[in-house]
């Protein structure tokens, strides 16, 4: 607690600095794309949010595994704390994507594989959170949601593959990979990387904060129960 408490302000500060810095850099100090005009700047929110949206699920998977194997209480709470964060990142990704899609593809929404898979990921977040909310006993809830997370991951991966099979879409391929030739121009890449790292830090700080809140909430309810006992 004290360690995370000590780290938290620094991470927060750094995250805010990088996100704000990266966004300002990207918004005001990069040229407009020759094809996409100013709309290209959505990329500085869209891509980091999308990356973190799927990344969060993997963090939850790892935390759930730790809970199942080691029954480490904090990891269960961390998974619980991460879910809404991931959900919001996913939502931001969907939203900015939709806003971007309007000028780029002429529609708000397109049943493109990547978009679709992302939407399903959003549904998984909803189901996961609904299950947490539905179970009163925290240990029971942790057990059930952990199993759901494991099973859900498998099906999410299958769904991803299935969707690729179903529809080849409009969405961009990887444009930031290290080995391909046609990476985005460096002018775009540097602020983009700043934003991605910033969003990552933001994720860490939010999950830390929420986990701390969850722990305190658990302690509080324990204390209230104790009070009622006495």
């Amino acid at each position: 607690m004290s360690l995370s408490g000590a780290v938290l302000p620094w991470v927060t500060a750094l995250a805010v600095a990088m996100v704000v810095g990266g966004l300002i850099w990207g918004f005001f100090f990069t040229p407009n794309d020759f094809r996409q005009g100013a709309t290209v700047k959505i990329i500085y929110i869209h891509v980091p949010a999308a990356i973190m949206g799927s990344g969060t699920w993997f963090m939850m998977l790892a935390a759930s595994l730790v809970w199942v194997i080691r029954r480490h209480h904090v990891s269960a709470l961390a998974a619980k704390a991460a879910a809404p964060v991931g959900m919001v990142f996913t939502l931001i990704g969907l939203f900015t994507g939709a806003v971007w899609g309007q000028p780029m593809w002429g529609t708000w929404w397109e049943w493109d594989p990547r978009l679709t898979a992302f939407l399903i990921l959003f549904l998984f977040y909803l189901g996961y959170m609904a299950l947490w909310a539905a179970v009163e006993n925290p240990d029971t809830a942790a057990d059930l949601t952990a199993v759901l997370c494991l099973v859900g991951t498998v099906f999410a991966v299958i769904a991803r593959y299935a969707i690729l099979f179903w529809n080849q879409g409009l969405h961009q391929g990887a444009s930031l990979s290290m080995d391909t030739e046609e990476n985005v121009a460096d002018v775009f890449a540097y602020p983009l990387w700043t934003c991605i790292i910033g969003f990552g830090l933001l994720f860490i700080c939010l999950v830390l904060l929420r986990t701390r809140t969850e722990i305190r909430a658990r302690r509080l309810s324990a204390l209230i129960a104790q009070e009622r006992m006495a």
């Binding site: 209480h73 129960a225 006992m229």
Partner: protein, 206 residues
């Protein structure tokens, strides 16, 4: 047959029993007593393996316990005989006539279980115990809704089970008429404390 040592039981986040020691030997019936909310149901469920114990040991042969709870576990759409045959099948038994005899269910044999009165349902649910073929009966208020005659019937079924070398642990508030049953009052073992007084206290320090 059943050996319980320093068992601690919790329901939800609250510990309700501590340091329970109980020995059940073949041919013995123990009547579990305690005021409402003492923890009888909790204890029986833990012994039956449905809930985990907080600490302590329960020693008994595996697959030796027949549990019967507050609910009847009866399929209202099936007849009495179908209900009983199903459970006999699950427990690998064949013969359901002894069970019919013991609780005088012959007349109700082909009655859909839903069309029976509360006491009749209860009799069916008790008859199930006889088709489990298991030695240790863990019963939670088995005589609810039974009239005097049927309470006596239940008592003699228990006696017969004991005579066959079985054992029984019965939570109840009324007098069962089991002559030499040992009374085990759980009142002394009652406690009310939170299981995890503060599960994350050490995290605050860390």
């Amino acid at each position: 047959m059943l050996e319980i040592t320093s068992l601690a039981c919790a329901r939800g986040a609250v510990q309700v029993l501590q340091n329970v020691d109980l020995n059940l030997i073949a041919g013995e019936a123990v009547v579990l007593r305690g005021p409402n909310g003492a923890g009888k149901t909790t204890l029986l469920r833990i012994i039956a393996g449905l809930s985990p114990a907080l600490s302590g040991q329960i020693k008994c042969a595996s697959d030796s316990i027949a549990y019967s709870g507050h609910a009847d576990g009866i399929k209202t759409n099936l007849t009495v005989a179908q209900n009983l045959n199903f459970w006999a099948g699950v427990f690998g038994q064949r013969d359901i006539t002894t069970a019919f005899d013991a609780f005088d269910l012959h007349d109700l044999r082909d009655r859909p279980a839903g069309e029976m009165s509360a006491g009749q349902k209860r009799r069916l649910s008790l008859a199930r115990l006889l088709v489990t073929g298991r030695p240790i009966w863990c019963l939670d208020e088995p005589t609810v809704s039974l009239d005097q005659e049927n309470v006596a019937r239940f008592a003699s079924a228990v006696q017969a089970h004991l005579a066959r070398g079985g054992a029984a642990l019965i939570a109840t508030h009324i007098d069962l008429g089991l002559a030499d049953a040992r009374i085990f009052d759980i009142k002394p073992f009652m406690c009310r404390k939170l299981v995890e007084t503060d599960p994350f206290a050490d995290w605050e320090a860390a």
